[in-house]
Amino acid sequence: MKILVCIRRVPDTSENEIELNRAGNDIERDDLVYSVNEPDNYAVEEALQIVQKAGGEVTVITVGGEEDEEVLRREMAMGAHHGVLLSDDSFAGSDGRGIATILKAFVEKDGYDLILTGVQAEDGGAQVGGMLAAMLDYPFASLVTSIELLEGGKLQISREIEGGSREMNEIDLPCVLSIQTGINEPRYVGMRGIRQVASVPIPIVGASELDLEPALVGAAAAKVRRLDYFAPPAGKGARILQGSREEIAGELFELLKAKGGLN
């Protein structure tokens, strides 16, 4: 089984409190710590577990610049066999559709049995996997919470639907699946693991190697563009209780009593 996992580097919300900058039109980017989009770790772990059972190789791929190499290496330290960086000046400013177009061109060159993505990026729209599948004319399933290999080039998968229920499906290979968090326990990556893959070459593939028409990607082709960031409406807004912990606990206890929270 040849598996491709599409990953992304994003601001790490466990390391930073995301907030607006002083001008109030962008997030504060000074000292922002980036890491791999957390749901992507579940996709890579799932791919590794599949090849452990069925044999094969896992390739991790991202669209971006030099700075994105670190997240490819992190996933290679998890055990991914190859990393590929799709990078070209003409890719800058691509929307989700543009990213899917670039990935499609790569998949058509290299060929994969199974393509996985994380369920969604913190700053994304849960869109690239479904778009890529439609472009390749592969079947697609989102929010996947289990994968089982069947005979005859098929998988049995479950999807997460409402109320904690699971929708069981059979899907033909090759296909694209977006992997829900919690499907597995992504393995820990230590510094030692990172060092071991530090010098493994990561090929950089550009538009010409992909025979990609530059007009189809990048900012000029983007139909969707983020204009700015701003503070969400405050809503009704909580009354923030003030005082010492004991005072707050006292006031809150009375509130719990009044609101019917004590039983």
């Binding site: 913190e122 109320g163 699971r166 204009l227 409406p233 809503g235 909580a238 009354r239 923030i240 004590l262």
Partner: protein, 326 residues
Amino acid sequence: MPRIFAYIVHKDGAVDDTALELRATAERIDSTAVLTAVVAGWGAELDAVCETLRASYPEIWKLSHECLAYPNAELVRKALAEVVPRGSIVLVPHSHFGVDLSPGLSIDLDAAFVSDVLEIEGLEGPSLKLVRQEFGGVVSTHVRCDISTGAVLNIRPGAFPPLDRAPAAGQVREVPVGPLTARRRYLSTIVPESGDVDIAKFKMLVSVGRGIQDPENVTIAQELADAVGGAVSCSRPVVDAKWMDKSRQVGSSGKTVKPKVYMACGISGSFQHLAGLKGNPFIVAVNKNSKAPIFRVADVGIVDDLLEFLPVLTTKALEERGVPAK
């Protein structure tokens, strides 16, 4: 102005709440646009859904096919791509189904796609300005979407309250769909087991999120729940980390609960989590981060470390209720 289509989600013959919300969304885009509800299904259930929709939509396109009896997004996508005119705007609820359907549909229709839309700012020529959120709702963004070749927009459930409108006396039009096959086949739905504690039965929930930090800290929440006669529930990251059972999860992919008091401790407050809270409970938020989105929806907030604050509240509750603190 492009035509607007609202994709209607339904189950067991009943129309989903989002049907009226999508109508309100369409009016926000352009109240003069030709608006059509498009609904896929089969048999008596589909008939019932179409009949209901006549009250709220001027026109209903009925895609009736045995293969569409269960809403397999891969088949629905094929049917829609076949019948929806190019250049249209298609509105879809941002749910597990919308996430499954819409990105691919936008490719099939050669249209723009925007997910999880919260607000429509307005139409300027071929460009629609929309509002989304990123980073779990911590920040909002304006997005410009070029609709010159149409658009598929996934609309957040609850974001557009239904409008009070006179009955529409809509016309149902059966739109034929060709043979449908998919390389993804629906097999069955597995309903979760109820678990050791049914959180839906409690008036008071002490709910913990990522801020609980360590599975052993769940005890701190359990002690408070015991002291006030409630149960411990949680948000998705706690289940993903396998610290609590799925049956304790509140949210659109977990349980729907209706407590009188909901204490969200170390929970940021994503819309998927809040979707599981019904019946307008009194919400208490405890979070170290004063900017956490949960404070926007809570009634009262405590900006503090839950690991420090909850034990103090537990002691207080035990004292007040005449149980000596340990």
